[in-house]
Symmetry: C2
């Protein structure tokens, strides 16, 4: 079955999951080029909205993601990279970017909210040693 991918403002949301641990590692966005390069090289590529550029995960840190499978959702507007992660996925040194568990939500006056959290993830490396 052929699925047209839906890019919103040129990007599609991507979830990366570790195939071995099953942990959700990170959430990011991909451009059409990033999806194509991921499929062709077997290494996870994303699009950095803050740096406005195509980005191979691990290009600086060496913490690359070997993509074993790409999955697409029912509406064709989100992707799931099933990966074998070298090192940690998060730039903070944690295995997963989702290393904090929400204890409580705190309503703000501007109708936004904050959350109190506890750290429940495992820090694998010192970011100061990996990123200069």
């Amino acid at each position: 079955m052929t699925v047209d991918l839906v890019f919103e403002d040129g990007l599609i949301p991507v979830i990366a999951q570790d195939t071995e641990s099953g942990r959700v590692l990170m959430f990011a966005y991909a451009s059409p080029d990033a999806v194509e390069q991921t499929e062709q090289t077997g290494l996870a590529h994303y699009y950095s909205r803050s740096r406005d550029e195509l980005w191979q995960k691990g290009a600086t840190s060496g913490h690359v993601q070997h993509v074993e499978e790409i999955r697409v959702d029912c509406d064709g507007d989100a992707l799931l990279y099933e990966v074998d992660q070298e090192g940690g996925a998060c730039h903070t040194g944690y295995e997963s970017c989702f290393y904090r568990t929400v204890e409580e939500t705190v309503a703000r006056e501007d109708a936004s909210i904050a959350v109190s959290t506890t750290e429940t993830g495992e820090q694998l490396f010192d970011p100061d040693e990996v990123y200069e």
Copy 2:
């Protein structure tokens, strides 16, 4: 640690993962109200961009998500709901919305891309019987 959640156009991306199978079930968005109601009721709430309304997952189908844990990512701009899913998460009847595996990417002339896929997920129910 208190984390200010980042809402873009009033919404934050949410990934739902099944705690038992470890499968990523779906990707959606939540408003501040949706996050608060999720935390307070223990049932997953989202914000539907197409219907422009707060939405309790399973309100129509009965396929509710009992949220065992909410996690927040390093930048405070994405959430992970760890859930116990009743029935299937996807409106197509599949356990997960990510029931298709990408075989190949196909470049389109408009710089977008399509993907050829195979179905690798399990269909749990007939959507015609659940949604009228």
